[in-house]
Symmetry: C2
Subunit: 340 residues, 2 copies
DNA sequence: TTGAAAGCGCTAACAT
DNA sequence: ATGTTAGCGCTTTCAA
């Protein structure tokens, strides 16, 4: 029952515009691309003809002939994360006016999907590639190396990049959060996060976090992982579960703001003393936390800026081949008490 | 300083694979596309050569030659809306395994952006077009009519479509919400929403809502609009403002769940009797409301299903040329009291 | 089962 | 300022 996937009615060609306007195809092409000198008179006639016919140029042919493609491949793990739409916003903003268009592919945190998405995108010979993370399959690396286009790996700087890298150190983000917590005098810390072995950035944050605790001779007292469902609801449930199991915890570190918000709501409903006897922190610095009863402590992942800088490298506004490490800003919010 | 936007290093061609394997270009092409009969021996040699070289086919050339493109253009107003990522999820799920790939363009609710994005996408001659809404500029309509590809307008059925339409009636959604509110005995109703003249669906919901109130001889007592910022925080602020101005309201209708959630949180903090003396409702049925202290009354916009059905039309699994109206499910949650 | 020729719709390079 | 010619890298079609 599937329609023969991709046949299509004939659409208008340059030739149609040429005939309608009585101007050669080449000149029509020039007018439409604003290239070379064309008399105002012909220009008008061509534009008029193209408009009334409803001509839309065929970039497939144009790209093949000119060997240029105005596409930037953007490969990210998820759209429902709140994080990546912001990154995309930064990319779009920076690309605005350069003639380049972002094309988005989503991998759902699955390496084999990443490979497939990359292959698909590279087959369109994009001008540049922006992809999340530093961990890729060998095949993916090989493709990227042969892509003949600049590659920017974003979000994370903890590891080796292929070409350019723009991101933050998640290890350090975790580490500094741990230090802030220790400084504030919390001692019995629990962690909650997603059950995603492929979320390398969350993993690195946790590693850094544990290293930070270790500096003070502390270890994580408890941990809990979830997958799927409403993150807000999961944060709520996990918090309840964990506090039932480990009632003496005095701090909860969440791997993202959404579950942190769920946890915060639950704690407040229970009448707990936040941040006095229980501190809370999330990660990402999403807009949402502005609207909570208390501002959740968090760390801004520089999402928009990462997108912007990555796009600037692709557009040539910024030099590539470097590692650009941005500094996430910590915000204590109302859920970590001040240092003692 | 901009890099000459799109020049690129030469990448591998069929010819390279042909030479490396000692098989004609034509046969290499056959192997790579799984078309026609090729002996197992040649097949292996070709695949081997392609793999070791790291060859990625050039779809630009392929598409030009074959006149088929495996792309589906998806044009939506926003990614930060929570709504559209779900729609995209439905589209991707349905397209999985058909060989078709969605390509997303974002308009930010601006008609001139929609026109530009459409033009750009149509220039790649996609197999089909899925776009949000029924309201488009004349130029956009003309382009779509000439696209030579199936067009599916999604989200909304209140108006005239171009080709296929899949969505819900926002007018009716507003109407039924009003009826539910009236039935529950609320009488003094306020409305809050986004200040977006171009958000036609929000507008239609409000129109339907007012019509529903009118059936009971009621009118909106107060209304407030916002733009930008954290929706959760805005919901909070607007609610405070409105209740200060109109303290005798007994119901607040929000044009989306996020501001509704902000309002709910504020009301609960104030110790208000929800839903006893004040009822609340949002719209969309987003996952987030599962995690709130009370489940916010809402109406599910059938996001995933809309994406799925639209994609099914493009892939040919479902007939096109129809208007498919889905029925949003109302959920009373914990913020509307039962009918008296 | 394999190969050769033609051409998809456009643009680069070179006329004029 | 405008036109002509020769491809871009593939696939279609037809021949072997």
């Amino acid at each position: 029952m599937t329609r023969p996937p991709t046949e299509r009615r004939r659409t208008l060609t340059l030739r149609d515009v040429s005939e309608a306007s009585g101007v050669s195809e080449m000149t029509v092409s020039r007018v439409l691309r604003n290239r070379g000198d064309v008399s105002e008179a012909t220009r008008k006639r061509v534009l008029e003809a193209a408009r009334t016919l409803g001509y839309v140029p065929n970039r497939i042919a144009g790209a093949l002939a000119s060997q240029r493609v105005n596409l930037v491949a953007v490969v990210i793990p998820s759209l429902s994360n709140l994080v990546f739409p912001d990154v995309l916003g930064g990319i779009s903003a920076e690309l605005e006016g350069t003639g380049l268009t972002p094309v988005v592919g989503v991998t759902n945190y699955r390496p084999e999907r990443e490979e497939a998405v990359l292959y698909e995108m590279l087959s369109w010979r994009p001008t540049g590639v922006i992809l999340a993370g530093l961990e890729h399959s060998d095949a993916a690396r090989a493709m990227l190396a042969n892509a003949g286009a600049p590659v920017v790996e974003i979000m994370d700087v903890d590891g080796a990049g292929i070409d350019s890298v723009v991101g933050i150190s998640h290890r350090r983000a975790g580490l500094e959060m741990a230090r802030a917590i220790v400084e504030a005098g919390y001692r019995r810390v629990g962690f909650m996060g997603t059950k995603m072995p492929e979320d390398h950035r969350a993993r690195k944050r946790l590693e850094g976090f544990e290293a930070g605790l270790a500096e003070a001779g502390l270890v994580l007292e408890d941990r809990e992982f979830y997958s799927g469902g409403s993150a807000l609801a999961k944060g709520r449930e996990m918090t309840k579960t964990m506090l039932a199991r480990s009632p003496d915890l005095d701090f909860l570190y969440y791997s993202n703001d959404m579950i942190g918000a769920g946890g915060l709501l639950w704690c407040l409903e229970q009448g707990m003393d936040v941040p006095g006897s229980l501190g809370l922190a999330g990660f990402n610095g999403v807009e949402l936390i502005e609207g909570l009863p208390r501002r959740l402590a968090s760390m801004d992942a520089c999402r928009k800026e990462i997108g912007r800088r990555a796009a600037a490298i692709i557009s040539g506004h910024e030099d590539g081949g470097q590692v650009i490490e941005l500094t996430p800003s910590f915000s204590r919010g109302d859920t970590i008490r001040p240092p003692r």
